[in-house]
């Protein structure tokens, strides 16, 4: 069973995404802050990471940078899921190696799940 790690400080969002992804047959792990998220990613080596940008302790950009610097985690595809939509953030995230940048407010839950499936099953 493929594993997805959700690093997201909004527990409600974590719950709804986790629920749908579990129903779709994925094993879901979750972290509420950047530090735990990074540790989980290094220990569990999930098949995909969903990453928020505004996170306590270690923000999303730092987490992404560290994931891509680490030999053991750099190949894991990262989908950034946030409500920030500045061009500077988008450019930075893609430059650091994220697969794609999704603004939560602009997507339906099913559309996000579809993107996740397309990325993980590639």
């Amino acid at each position: 069973m493929k594993q997805i790690l959700i690093i997201e400080d909004e527990s409600a969002l974590q719950k709804s995404l986790g629920e749908v992804l579990s129903q779709e047959g994925y094993n879901v792990a979750a972290a509420l802050d950047g530090e735990i998220g990074l540790r989980l990613a290094q220990n569990e080596k999930p098949d995909l990471i969903l990453l928020d940008l505004i996170l306590p302790k270690l923000n999303g950009l730092e987490v992404l940078k560290k994931l891509k610097e680490d030999k053991t985690t750099k190949e894991i595809p990262v989908l950034v899921l946030t409500n920030l939509e500045g061009l500077a953030e988008i450019d930075k995230v893609l430059e650091l190696g994220a697969v794609s940048y999704l603004v939560k407010a602009q997507y339906k839950l099913e559309e996000v799940v579809e993107k996740i499936k397309n990325t993980i099953d590639k």
Partner: protein, 318 residues
């Protein structure tokens, strides 16, 4: 105040940019210009005074006194401008922060309602679906309002993200029209597109995201303010290397008295209020600000009870 601070104070371009104002609307720049004019007029007054007055000391004294008074007046005026600009900037920043904060709980709400309505957690009774629909529609209305407020605050603080690139206008229009199709059909409105066939794929170089938002706002208004049944025509041409896009509707039209206000923030025409309770009055304000930023113009003509035509022109390559 240290010399560095004084220099920083005179970082005119930077300050004006932070207020989102052009140089000729910016207090700091105006103060600098006034200061230079005062110095020049003081020197010439002194030169003239010493030439034509018997006592050069008296001439110097009068000149200094007048200069000082002018400087104080100028400083007070500019300080008050400065305060106004600061208040406006704080207000825009406040809107931006609040809007960002509101987005997260709204996203949570939206996705939770979507799960419930998807039937993933069990089938809903018809009555339940009806009420979940109300929740869904109202949360998306709040989303739209927050997005509009964010755009307004970005316009006012000159932080609206622009990114120009080459894109196919034909593809954009096709996707927009298909997005609007169900909303139009449910309002008994037909959308017709008239585009020059020779222009295929109609490539232009500008900001596709911003242009799309403008067309979306205009199309939304056109469909929304048609009573009972009607037609919206989108006419798109390349006119002397400028994109000319017209949106023609046969809706309720804009009353004569309201026409000069329609591009103002939060303004809602009386005929619009009679016909539709939804809407924030920000769509046209945003459209105008974006089109002008893209180097174009937006205009309209309207006849009450018969419909309106909005047209925009922007450079095909800018």
């Amino acid at each position: 105040m240290s010399f560095r601070k004084i220099l920083k104070k005179f970082n005119v371009a930077g300050q004006c940019q932070s207020y989102g104002l052009s140089l000729w609307q910016c207090p700091q720049f105006l103060f600098l210009i006034m200061g230079l004019i005062i110095i020049a007029s003081t020197l010439s007054a002194y030169a003239i005074g010493t030439k034509y007055l018997g006592d050069p000391f008296l001439a110097a004294l009068v000149t200094i006194a007048v200069t000082f008074a002018l400087f104080v007046i100028a400083f007070v005026i500019v300080q008050s401008f400065d305060k106004l600009a600061e208040v406006s900037r704080t207000k825009s920043e406040f809107i931006s922060i609040i809007s960002h904060q509101l987005r997260s709980p709204l996203s949570n709400l939206k996705w939770a309602v979507e799960i419930l309505m998807s039937g993933r957690l069990g089938q809903l009774a018809d009555k339940q679906t009806e009420y979940f629909k109300i929740l869904k529609e109202n949360s998306s209305r709040m989303h739209e309002l927050i997005n509009d407020l964010l755009t307004v605050s970005r316009i006012e603080t000159a932080k609206i993200p622009f990114k120009k690139e080459e894109f196919s206008l034909r593809e954009m229009i096709e996707s927009l029209v298909s997005e609007f199709r169900s909303f139009a059909e449910s309002s008994n409105v037909q959308i017709k597109v008239l585009m020059d066939d020779a222009e295929n794929p109609f490539r232009i170089f500008n900001d596709p995201r911003q242009l799309r938002q403008v067309i979306e706002n205009l199309l939304d208004n056109a469909v929304r303010y048609i009573k009972d049944k009607g037609e919206v025509i989108l006419e798109i041409k390349n006119y002397k290397n400028r994109l000319c896009l017209k949106i023609i509707d046969n809706g309720v039209g804009i009353p004569k008295a309201d026409r000069k206000y329609i591009f103002q923030k939060f303004f809602r025409s009386e005929s619009a209020l009679r016909h539709q309770t939804e809407g924030s009055g920000l769509g046209l304000y945003i459209a105008k600000a974006i089109i002008e930023r893209l180097g174009g113009k937006i205009k309209f003509s309207s006849q009450e009870g018969r419909g309106s035509t909005f047209w925009i022109t922007i450079p095909m390559k800018s």
